[in-house]
Symmetry: C2
Subunit: 212 residues, 2 copies
C-alpha cells in the first residue's frame, strides 16, 4: 500500500495511526501542502485525489481511496484485527460521533486552505485567525468531545478506537497552536494513554520522513 | 424514535431521508436554530446534544445518538433493509468518501454558526459571505464529488446510498444560495433521480412541520 501523506496533516496522521495499530506496512508518498504553492494542487495530484487533499491510500492493485474516515472504515473491514470500530452498533455510533465531531466540526474549519482564505481573501490578522482557530477547536470540538467520551483510559474503554485516532491529531494541533486544553481532563488522559503506544508515537508528525 | 431536527439543517435532512428510505416511523422535536437566539444553545438542549447541533436521534429507551453520519451508520446496522452502505468494503469506501467530502469539507464551512462568525466577528458583507459559501460548495465539495461519482442513475449505481443522502441536502443548499451547478451533469442527474422518490421528497425542508 502507498499513502499520499503530509507530516502535519491531521487527516493523514489518523490513517498513519490506523495502519500502525493494524500492523500494516506501507510506503509513504509525501505531498507538501505549502512548498511550490502546494503540491496537492498539481494536475498530477488532482488525478490521484479530485479533492486535492491528503491522505489518499493507494492499494496494491492501484485502487485509490480518499477521505481518512472512509479509508479507516475500509481497513477495519478488510484487516479486522484489532477492530477500531466496535461491533456493537450502539457503541459504534458513539465512537463514530466523536470521530465526526472532530472530522466534520473541528478540523475542516482550521485546515491550511481555510486559514489561507481568512488571511488573504478576508485580510484577517494572525491574532484574528488564532481566535478563530481556538474557537472551533474548543467550542466546535474538544469541549463537547470531553462530554461525549468515557472515563477511559481510551475514549471508549480499554481499547483504542476511531475516536482516539481522530482525537489525538486534533490535540496535537491544539498544542501546536497553543489552544488551552488544561480544563479537559478526560482528553488529557486519553492523550497520555495513546502517546504511550508505539502505534501512536510512530505516527506523530515529527517522526515522519517528510518532517521539517 | 424521536428526531431533534430543524427543517433547513442539512444534517437533519440526511437523517430524515435515511429514516424514510428504511420506512422507520419517527416523531419530530423541532429545534429552531435562529429563533430565540438559537434554541440549540439552551442548557436543556445542550444536555441532549453536547455539541448543540441538530440532529439528535433519541431511541425508544432514551439513548441519544448524535452526528448524522453516525446515526445513519447505526440505522443501517440495525435496520438493514434497504442497505445504504454497500456490503463490499471497496464500494463502501467510495460511498463514504463522497459522503465525507460533503459532511466534512463542504457543509461545516457553510453552516449557520460559521456564517454568523464571518458576519459578526469578522464583519464580512453579505457579498463576501456569498463568495465564501460558493467557494466551499463548489471547490470543496460538489466539483470533486462530480469526479468521484458514477454515471448513475444514483451516485453509485441503481440504489440510493449514503452518498446520495449527503449530496441531495447539499444541492438543496446550493440552489437556496444561488450557487451555479449547471456544469455538474452527474450531480443534476442524481438530483432528478432522488427527488422522484417519495423518501427523498418527504424529507425536503419545505415538507417539514416546522417549515416557515
Amino acid at each position: 500500500m502507498k499513502l499520499y501523506t503530509y507530516f502535519r496533516s491531521s487527516a493523514a496522521y489518523r490513517v498513519r495511526i490506523a495502519l500502525n495499530l493494524k500492523g500494516i506496512a506501507y510506503e509513504q508518498a509525501p505531498v507538501h501542502l505549502v512548498k511550490d504553492g502546494g503540491q496537492q494542487k498539481t494536475a498530477a495530484y488532482q488525478a490521484v485525489n479530485p479533492q486535492m487533499l491528503v491522505p489518499t491510500l493507494e492499494l496494491d492493485d492501484g485502487t485509490r481511496l480518499t477521505q481518512s474516515l472512509a479509508i479507516i472504515e475500509y481497513l477495519d473491514a478488510v484487516h479486522a484485527d484489532p477492530k477500531l470500530i466496535p461491533a456493537d452498533p450502539l457503541l459504534a455510533a458513539k465512537v463514530r460521533a466523536v470521530a465526526l465531531a472532530i472530522a466534520c466540526d473541528t478540523h475542516p474549519l482550521n485546515n491550511t486552505r481555510v486559514l489561507a482564505y481568512l488571511r488573504t481573501t478576508f485580510g484577517r490578522s494572525d491574532e484574528e485567525v488564532s481566535r478563530w482557530y481556538e474557537n472551533w477547536t474548543l467550542k466546535g470540538g474538544l469541549e463537547p468531545v470531553e462530554a461525549l467520551i468515557t472515563d477511559g483510559p481510551f475514549c471508549f474503554g480499554d481499547q483504542p478506537t476511531l475516536a482516539d485516532i481522530c482525537l489525538i491529531p486534533q490535540v496535537f494541533n491544539a498544542r501546536r497552536f497553543k489552544v488551552p486544553i488544561d480544563h479537559l481532563p478526560k482528553i488529557l488522559r486519553v492523550e497520555a494513554t495513546c502517546q504511550a503506544l508505539p502505534a501512536f508515537a510512530a505516527a506523530r508528525p515529527e517522526a515522519q520522513p517528510d518532517a521539517e
